[in-house]
């Protein structure tokens, strides 16, 4: 009997939303306890700041350039390598419950297995899908073909209208506002907490775990759709955090002139988006102008986000309790992270896009190794990536990571990280949408974040961003053109290009917006 693996992801959650990471809004005692017992990572970055490429990195252990999912809407090939498949072949029972999103959502033709599977059950045709023998899927609401939406339509049709419609009639990300402040993607949702997708994901995870024999080894990816927008948690829970008492985030310069001066110091697509003159990616509402965002809207979004984080923490607590009741506590590894961050008011912006700053790149990552492994608690300050998760799962299972995995097993402390060369972490962005293309390559090393721009619609390829996290943790002062930083910039850029992963060939096609 080996170690069991509960892999918990949220969607679009910031580093600073956990109590163990210094968060002050949401109470997250369950994850905080895991962090205290295990390893808390202070510099975990995604390899892409949007869902499909990032989730594909988690599954394959490869960079987006290599697995080929270069933007949302590019499906991961069904025969792409999968850590779940590796574990299953090693005898692990495998499940994915919640949000998958390796394949596009907008799929009326049902070309993609994720969308058609829910019509036939929870076991994929042929027995496995990407290495998972059991899939029960959900996304951010009750529209669409996935299991949660179908269950809600069948069992709770009266509750459907309470959810915020994530897309508008034009299938664009909805710009409509609600709540007390009119903030975009906010809605009062009277749904009972017990049938909201956060609790549903936990319920279905427990149901699957209950089908397993006590001696079986298992890998379960429990994937919560929250706290990704829309911010429409059950209204009964919203009172946990009064938005009127929420302090403005440190990353939100309340003074408009100050805010705009900061944006003007960055490559031009930042300000163009803020002013509503350029929307370079599908993931933010095309009809929303960030310059209209008010301080109160920032407060309300942060409050609702915090409520969603609390519900996730409590749902995770229920699953851990059940695992303990099953007698798995000592042999259970728990890994908690997310796919990417959320701007959440930083720089006067919401949502996500080609903006490689901590809001989107610095992620919560906690690994509580199985107590039976006697791994001492630690805090890792060295840079790691989501690309390191797949080999870590292999290591937990006692399997040599396959050669196609590009990351390394997560370090258990800083000396381990130093010994095994965890010096840098890379993130990439490519998007080509409706006549606008943006391409970024980023390296985080030492205390610097350095982003090189490739030629695109708004950039000639000479632009960049360089931030010294030691004296500018909010990344407000772009040092790219600072002569005093020229040497460090050149060194980082050379290092960045020296470590680019091999490209997937042929280039995969964009097949849907998201």
């Amino acid at each position: 009997m080996g170690r069991k693996i509960l892999f918990v992801t949220t969607d679009q959650q910031r580093y600073d939303t956990l109590g163990c990471n210094g968060g002050i809004l949401s109470r997250t005692p369950v994850v905080d306890r895991l962090a205290g017992e295990g390893i808390r990572f202070e510099r975990a970055h995604p390899q892409s700041v949007v869902c499909m490429p990032s989730r594909s990195t988690i599954l394959t252990g490869q960079y987006p350039t290599t697995h080929g999912v270069w933007m949302n809407g590019v499906p991961l090939p069904v025969d792409a390598p999968s850590v779940a498949d590796v574990l299953h072949r090693a005898g692990y029972r495998t499940a994915l419950v919640g949000k998958a999103h390796f394949e596009p959502f907008l799929d009326p033709f049902f070309r993609f297995g994720e969308n058609s599977l829910a019509q036939t059950g929870t076991e994929p045709p042929g027995g496995l899908h990407r290495g998972f023998e059991h899939l029960e899927m959900a996304t951010h609401g009750t529209v669409g073909p996935l299991h949660y939406a179908r269950w809600m339509m069948a069992e709770h049709p009266e509750a459907l209208g309470g959810f915020y419609p994530a897309l508008d009639a034009s299938l664009q990300v909805n710009a409509g506002g609600g709540g007390d402040t009119g903030a975009p993607q906010v809605k009062v949702n009277p749904v009972d907490r017990g049938i909201y997708h956060t609790d549903w994901v936990a319920d279905r995870t427990i149901a699957w775990l209950d089908t397993l024999g006590a001696d079986e080894d298992w890998f379960c990816w429990m994937s919560f759709p929250d706290p990704h927008h829309p911010w429409d948690p059950p209204e009964s829970e919203v009172g946990r955090v009064d938005w009127r008492e929420v302090p403005l985030p440190a990353g939100y310069p309340e003074d408009r002139a100050r805010r705009e001066a900061i944006l003007d110091g960055k490559p031009r697509h930042w300000r163009l988006w803020y002013d509503g003159t350029l929307v370079s990616n599908y993931e933010a509402p095309a009809d929303w102008v960030p310059a209209t965002l008010t301080a109160d809207q920032v407060r309300e979004v942060n409050a609702r986000n915090a409520v969603e984080c609390e519900l996730i923490d409590e749902a995770l607590g229920r699953v851990l309790s059940r695992a303990a009741e099953r007698g798995w506590g000592d042999d259970l590894d728990v890994v908690f992270t997310t796919d990417h961050g959320e701007l959440q008011g930083d720089f006067g912006l919401l949502f996500k896009g080609p903006y490689h700053v901590d809001a989107l790149m610095r992620l919560p990552l906690v690994w509580r190794p199985a107590p039976s492994s006697s791994t001492p608690p630690a805090v890792v300050t060295r840079p790691v990536g989501l690309v390191d998760l797949a080999p870590t799962f292999c290591a937990i299972a006692g399997i040599e990571p396959p050669g196609w995995m590009q990351g390394g097993t997560l370090p258990v402390d800083d000396p381990d990280a130093d010994e095994r060369g965890f010096e840098r972490v890379l993130t990439e962005w490519d998007s080509e949408l409706f006549g606008t293309d943006v391409h970024l390559r980023t390296i985080m090393r030492d205390h610097w974040v350095c982003t090189a721009y490739l030629p695109g619609t708004s950039h000639d390829g000479s632009e960049g961003e360089l931030y010294d996290l030691e004296d500018d943790p909010l990344q407000r002062a772009n040092r790219w053109d600072d002569p005093a930083c020229r040497a460090v910039r050149d060194d980082l850029v050379a290092d960045l290009w020296d470590h680019q992963p091999p490209a997937h060939t042929p280039r995969l096609a964009l097949e849907a917006p998201v």
């Binding site: 809407g73 596009p104 907008l106 799929d107 009326p108 033709f109 049902f110 070309r111 969308n115 058609s116 073909p145 009639a169 034009s170 299938l171 664009q172 003159t277 350029l278 929307v279 599908y282 095309a286 009809d287 080509e432 949408l433 409706f434 006549g435 042929p506 096609a509 964009l510 097949e511 849907a512 917006p513």
Partner: protein, 149 residues
């Protein structure tokens, strides 16, 4: 500025005479034979109704079926679309091969990606259905998404 209308184009080069490809892709009632995700199809005059894999009936109006030009054009008339035009051209490359080009224009722009993505998969499937080879490495090419604001 946000694009309202999206434009996508995909193409595949086939090791067959254009008439062979046109006999299939130019025949409106046969679309479900080569377009994955379309499970049924009826044609009544210039109205074609396809049924997608999700069970969604999608009405279309046939605009152009021109065997001389080897061009088929259709509009999806479902309410979700403000505008749509699908264009399939079969071109004779005069070397024993042919080029099938599938263009998708739509408002809302997002739907150009949805329909265009499925069209790309259909082109990828076409050599197998026709029993011919696709010509050259990387023979399936995509252009776009472009946009007209």
């Amino acid at each position: 500025m946000t694009a309202k209308r999206g434009s996508v184009r995909h193409q595949v080069r086939l090791a067959c005479a254009p008439d062979v490809a046109w006999a299939l892709v130019g025949d409106p009632p046969r679309v479900h034979e080569w377009f994955p995700g379309i499970v049924a199809c009826t044609v009544d005059g210039d109205v074609r109704v396809i049924t997608t894999g999700s069970g969604l009936p999608m009405p279309e109006r046939l605009v152009t079926v021109d065997p001389a030009l080897r061009r088929l054009q259709y509009r999806i008339t479902a309410p979700l679309f403000t505008e749509h035009l699908g264009t399939i051209d079969v071109l004779d490359l005069e070397d024993g091969t042919s080029l099938v080009v599938y263009g998708t224009d739509a408002d809302p722009a997002a739907l150009a990606l949805v329909i265009g993505g499925a069209a790309r998969a259909a082109l990828a499937h076409l050599p197998e259905v026709l029993g011919v080879d696709a010509v050259g490495p990387g023979n399936l090419r995509s252009v776009g998404p472009g946009a007209v604001p």
